[in-house]
Amino acid sequence: MKKTPTTILIALLLTFSFILNAQQEDTAKLKSIYFEVNDYVEDNEGCLKCHGEQKFKLEDAFGRTVTEHMCPDRFVDRDKYYSSVHKSFSCTDCHSYDLFEFPHPLDARIEEKMLCMDCHGYDESFAQYHFETIEVEFQESIHNIDEFSCWKCHDPHSYKAFMRNADDIEAAVLYDNEMCLSCHANFSQFMVLTDRGEINLVESHDWLPNQVAHFRSVRCIECHTEINDSILIAHKIMPKTEAVKNCTECHSRDSHLMHTLYKFQVKEDRKAGFANAIILNNSYVIGANQNIVLNWLSLLVFGLTFLVILFHTVMRIIKLKDK
C-alpha cells in the first residue's frame, strides 16, 4: 500500500482513536416496573449498559474486544436503583453530562460529587427530616474522617428509607446493620477508610450474652449512637468506649429501645397487659416487657399469703400465752 498522507492519517486515526463501544443494549433487562417509576429509563441505559453490569465489553475500531469487570463501587443494580428513594431520577440529575463521553474525561471524573445536603439541606420540603441536624451529628461523629461521606452508608443508588416505613422491624434491623457490617465486618472495605486493625465483632462483643439474639433483634446504632429525639435516626456514632454497655438501659420499663428502635411506634397501645408492647411484635426483652397485670396479681397473691401467715402466727402466739 502506498503511504500517502491520507492512508497514514487513516491508520493513525484507527490506531489512536481507540473507539470504544460497550456491549449492546439488552432491552430485555428493562422491566416494566422501571418505566412505571422513572421517565428516563432509556436515557439511564446510556450509563447502565456498563454500570448496570458486573461485566462489560470494550470494542475498538478494529473489532477487537475485551471483557472487563465493573468495580463494585461503580456498579448500580437496576432493581435496587428503581426501588430506591431516588428511583425516579435520571443519572444526570446528579452526575455530569460529560460522563456520557467514553472514555470518561478526567475533568468529569474528578468533579466533586453531590452529597445529601446539596439537595436535602435547608429545603422546606425536607424540613421534617432535619437533615441539618443529621449533618451536625455526623460532624460530631467518629465517622467524620477523610474520605467518609453519607454515601459510605447510604448508597444513593439503592438506599431505602426503611425505618420510617418499617412494618417488619426484623427486616429493618437486618437492612440497617448491613450498612455497618459492610465495612466493620469486611476488612478489605474497612482498610480503605482507616489505618485501624481488623475488628472481630464477635470477640469485641463477647461480654454480651445471647449475641445472636441481640444482633438479630436490635441495630448496632441502638448502643453506638447518642439518643436524639429531634431526628428519626441518630447519626452521632460514639467512640466504642462510650457505647451503651449497661444492660438495664434496654432491660427496664423505661427502655432505651423505645427512644431508638421503636421510637416510630411508641404510641401503640399496651397489649395484653405488657409494658412496651410494641417490642413484642418482634422480640421479648426481659425487664422491658413486664406484664403489668401479672405484676399486680403476684403482689396481691403474695400479700394475701403473707397476711394469712401473719394472722396464723399471731393466733398461735395468743394461744401459746393462754396455755
Binding site: 427496664s252 426481659i286 425487664g287 401479672l294 401467715i309 398461735r316
Partner: protein, 207 residues
C-alpha cells in the same frame, strides 16, 4: 415428757434439700432483679443477676435430676405415691386442723410415722411443686437460656414470650409455695423442731 425420734431424712435428701433451698433463694432474688431491672426492686445488678441465675439454674437442674433418680432408686419415692386416694376429705381434714384444731391443741390428724412422712396437704403440694412445677420451670428456663433455639411460635405467640411468661408464673407460684413451706416448717412441737430435723435427719415429737 417422752420424745420419739424417727429417722426420716437420709443424708442424700438433706444434701439435696440444702442445695435446692440455697439455689432456689438465689434464683428468686436474681429473678426479681431481672424482672424489675432498672426499678426500685433491683436487688442485684442485671449482669450479675444473669450470671448467678444461669449458674444456679444449672445446679438446680442437676440437683433436680438427683432428686428424681434418688426417689426412683430409694424408698423415699414411696412418700409421694398414692396421693389421690380419698384426696378431698383428707385435704379438708388437714385444712381444718391448720385453721382451727391447731389452736385447740388437737392432735395432728395425720401424725408423722415411718410410713407417712407427709400429711395429705404436704403430699399434694410437694407432688405438684416437684413433679409439675419444677419440670415446667426447668424447661422454660432452658428455653430462655438458649433463646436462639426458640425462634418459633408456641400457641401462635412468640416462643420467647410464651416461655418467659410461663417461667415467671411458675417461678412465682413456687416462690409462694416456698413461703408457705417455710411457715409450715415452724408448726412442729417448737418453731425450730422441723428445721432441726432437716439438719440431723431425725423427726422428733414430744408425747
Amino acid at each position: 415428757m417422752a420424745t420419739s425420734k424417727i429417722y426420716l431424712y437420709p443424708v442424700w435428701i438433706r444434701i439435696w434439700h440444702v442445695i435446692n433451698a440455697l439455689m432456689f433463694i438465689l434464683l428468686i432474688l436474681t429473678g426479681i432483679s431481672l424482672h424489675y431491672s432498672g426499678s426500685g426492686f433491683t436487688l442485684i445488678g442485671f449482669e450479675a443477676s444473669v450470671g448467678i441465675h444461669n449458674v444456679c439454674a444449672l445446679i438446680l437442674t442437676f440437683n433436680y435430676g438427683v432428686y428424681v433418680i434418688g426417689n426412683m432408686v430409694t424408698k423415699n419415692g414411696k412418700y409421694y405415691r398414692k396421693w389421690r386416694k380419698n384426696l378431698v376429705p383428707k385435704l379438708w381434714k388437714q385444712f381444718v386442723f391448720y385453721a382451727v384444731g391447731i389452736f385447740r391443741n388437737e392432735p395432728h390428724p395425720f401424725p408423722i410415722t415411718k410410713k407417712q412422712k407427709f400429711n395429705p396437704l404436704q403430699k399434694v403440694a410437694y407432688v405438684f411443686a416437684m413433679y409439675f412445677g419444677m419440670p415446667l420451670l426447668i424447661i422454660s428456663g432452658i428455653a430462655l437460656m438458649v433463646p436462639d433455639l426458640i425462634g418459633y411460635k408456641v400457641f401462635n405467640v412468640s416462643g420467647l414470650i410464651f416461655y418467659d411468661v410461663l417461667h415467671i408464673i411458675v417461678g412465682f407460684v413456687l416462690s409462694v409455695f416456698l413461703l408457705i413451706h417455710l411457715y409450715t416448717c415452724t408448726l412442729g412441737d417448737k418453731p425450730g423442731t422441723l428445721f432441726k430435723s432437716m439438719v440431723n435427719g431425725y423427726h422428733e415429737e414430744h408425747k
